[in-house]
Amino acid sequence: MSDVITLAHGAGGKQTAELIDSVFKAHFANPEFTGDDAAILSLGGQDLAFTTDGFIVSPSDFPGGNIGKLSICGTVNDLSCMGAQPLYLACAFVIEEGLPMSDLERYAAAMEKTAAEAGVRIVAGDTKVAGKGQVDRLFITTTGIGRRLPGVRLSGTEAKPGDAVIVTGDIGRHGCTVLLSREQFGIDADVTSDCAPLWGTVKSMLGVTQDIHVIRDATRGGVGTVLYEIAAQSHVGIRLDRAAIPVAPAVSGVCGMLGLEPLYLACEGRLVVFAPQAQADAIVTALRQGPYSGNAAIIGTVTAEHAERVTIRTEIGAETILPPPGGELLPRIC
């Protein structure tokens, strides 16, 4: 472990996990602290999901959204992945001196609109202003609480050999969009962020069957990082089929040019779902009716062999390993 914090510690991959284990888990360990997207708290006979998320994306406006919309989606989706209906949010703003009032107004409006769509209310908040240069424009932290639907037991430890692995849409759009909107590559591609609140998507799946083992949103580290997390938490192997993974042509073009793996590009409106094979087709059919999951697809299966590994059948039909996540990914994408 290095003696200073590096960007890799925030990339959502292996170093992030090491940091959480060696510092935060070491100090905060308790029975409710788990590796899932939200903690499940039993209060007054009800199971509540509780979580928080910070947002520092640069640039704060990007095609398909802005930091305000993103800050609602991130927390709503973390709650949704536990099978919990998001109810209330609190938000904290750290604002840089000099931020135009009209920008703040725009982000607040985006938050309001997204919260309304997700059916949550923003009920508390905090405002801090930092001196010029102490933050980059605006950082937002949102904290949310939701009520878990009765009978639902979703957790990263529940993936079983034989499960189908489903993604709810084409992958990597958010990471690709933010990358390109930084203009440093001089690449012009028609890509918009997939940023979306996904409670409706989760509800539609749970409407088909409650026999779903894992739902997790692919954020910073992309779908690949989620797959490695689940493989480790559930102690299973995962076998992917490259040809089945939905990637928008513009995203795969950009990945080809820059040597990026779309499985490791951030998403902000995509879920990775593990469910018994028998339910998979019905889940995908239901997903394809939804507004944010029109190109949902089964991309692989869970195996008992190669535990804690993700393997992939390549374009030429060879079986190889998906290299595990790690290192400095794209900084500040969420």
Binding site: V4, I316, T320
Partner: protein, 351 residues
């Protein structure tokens, strides 16, 4: 058995029954794509695929990193660089270490961005770490010309640019055939490949898709048993005999050949490119009178043997133990296109 045309290359590769052959790919992108597509899994035991010195980050010697750190810490220069170089170990530290001790290190994605940065920060000296082969070097030449034309005087290059042909000569006993990098030959043309063939060195120009790589391997495995030196251009949609005349012109206008050190291979005469004397004002070594630096590598690190094909990454005592992609000791582990990094990421499991 009828084999569909599209599967012919694959069939030739998987059913090869000729004499043992060592094929060396000398391009980091080839190394990476070969692993990514799982091509190694298709090869019969008689075919030995070796990852040679084709990743510019991997062949950059520690002394070059020392020079960059000297410029940053002693001369207060802002170092602009492609991201990969930041974690390459110098003799005592990497640029990432130096950055946490106050060195100004800026990641850029093109040489022209470094010029732009210099233009926007006229009060600072900006040094671009110019590494790379014939594919990357024209961009550095362009950057120097642009700086000159725009009167930007606070921009210079620290050069470690390299050219491939001399490396093939130096490595000719390590391999029976080379996969020539398609993008290098797109700039330089194929005359040099014909010349290598006349010197007894075999190879094929190879593209980057799964099919192009398989086709190139199939051609090598078809030609090799005939027992004579061969050359084929298997990437004709991009590579012509003449190459890119404008790219070559740019190179010869701004740069000239020099001796240069390759990590693991030592100094190969005339295998480097440096700025011509008339561009000395843009040469950081001249401008800042950088003293000569003999960089030292970790003595246990076998990157040099690996780059020559004398040893495979798992045979290095540091591999996967103290040397990992998160904490690289050798350059071949730093770059995603390095042989050690590829073995580490893809090689842990035989399917």
């Amino acid at each position: 058995m009828s084999i569909e045309k599209k599967d012919l290359a694959r069939h030739i590769v998987t059913s090869y029954a000729g004499p043992k052959i060592r094929i060396m790919e000398v391009c980091g992108t080839h190394t990476h794509e070969i692993f990514r597509y799982g091509i190694r899994q298709l090869l019969p035991p008689a075919v030995d695929l070796i990852s040679g010195p084709g990743c510019p980050v991997c062949v950059t010697p520690p002394g070059f990193i020392d020079e960059a750190i000297y410029l940053a810490l002693e001369k207060g220069a802002v170092i602009c660089t492609f991201g990969d170089l930041i974690r390459v170990p110098g003799s005592a530290q990497s640029l990432a270490d130096a950055r946490s001790r106050g060195a100004a290190v800026q990641v850029v994605y093109s040489q022209l961005d470094a010029v732009k940065y210099a233009a926007a920060h006229r009060d600072k000296e900006v040094v671009f770490l110019s590494v790379g082969f014939e594919t990357t070097t024209p961009g550095a030449c362009l950057a120097v010309l642009q700086a000159r034309d725009e009167g930007i005087t606070n921009f210079s290059l620290l050069t470690a640019n390299k050219t491939m042909p001399q490396a093939y000569e130096a490595l000719k006993d390590s391999a029976d055939a080379f996969l020539y990098p398609g993008h290098v030959q797109a700039i330089m043309g194929t005359e040099i490949c014909e010349k290598l063939k006349a010197d007894g060195i075999s190879g094929v120009v190879t593209g980057f898709t799964a099919r192009e790589l398989l086709t190139a391997l199939a051609v090598v495995l078809t030609e090799f048993p005939k027992g004579k030196p061969f050359f084929k251009n298997c990437y004709p949609r991009v590579v012509t005999a003449a190459g890119s005349v404008s790219g070559q012109k740019l190179l010869s206008q701004v740069m000239e050949a020099c001796d240069t050190e390759w990590r693991g291979l030592g100094v190969i005469p005339q295998s480097g490119l440096t700025l011509r004397p008339e561009f000395a004002a843009y040469d950081a070594r001249v401008k800042f009178a950088v003293p000569p630096m003999d960089g030292r590598s970790n003595p246990a690190c076998r990157c040099g043997d690996i780059l020559r094909g004398d040893c495979r990454p798992p045979q290095c005592p540091l591999f996967g133990k103290v040397c990992t992609p998160e904490h690289p000791v050798g350059a071949c582990m730093v770059s995603r296109e390095g042989a050690c990094s590829a073995y580490y990421q893809y090689g842990g499991l035989t399917l």
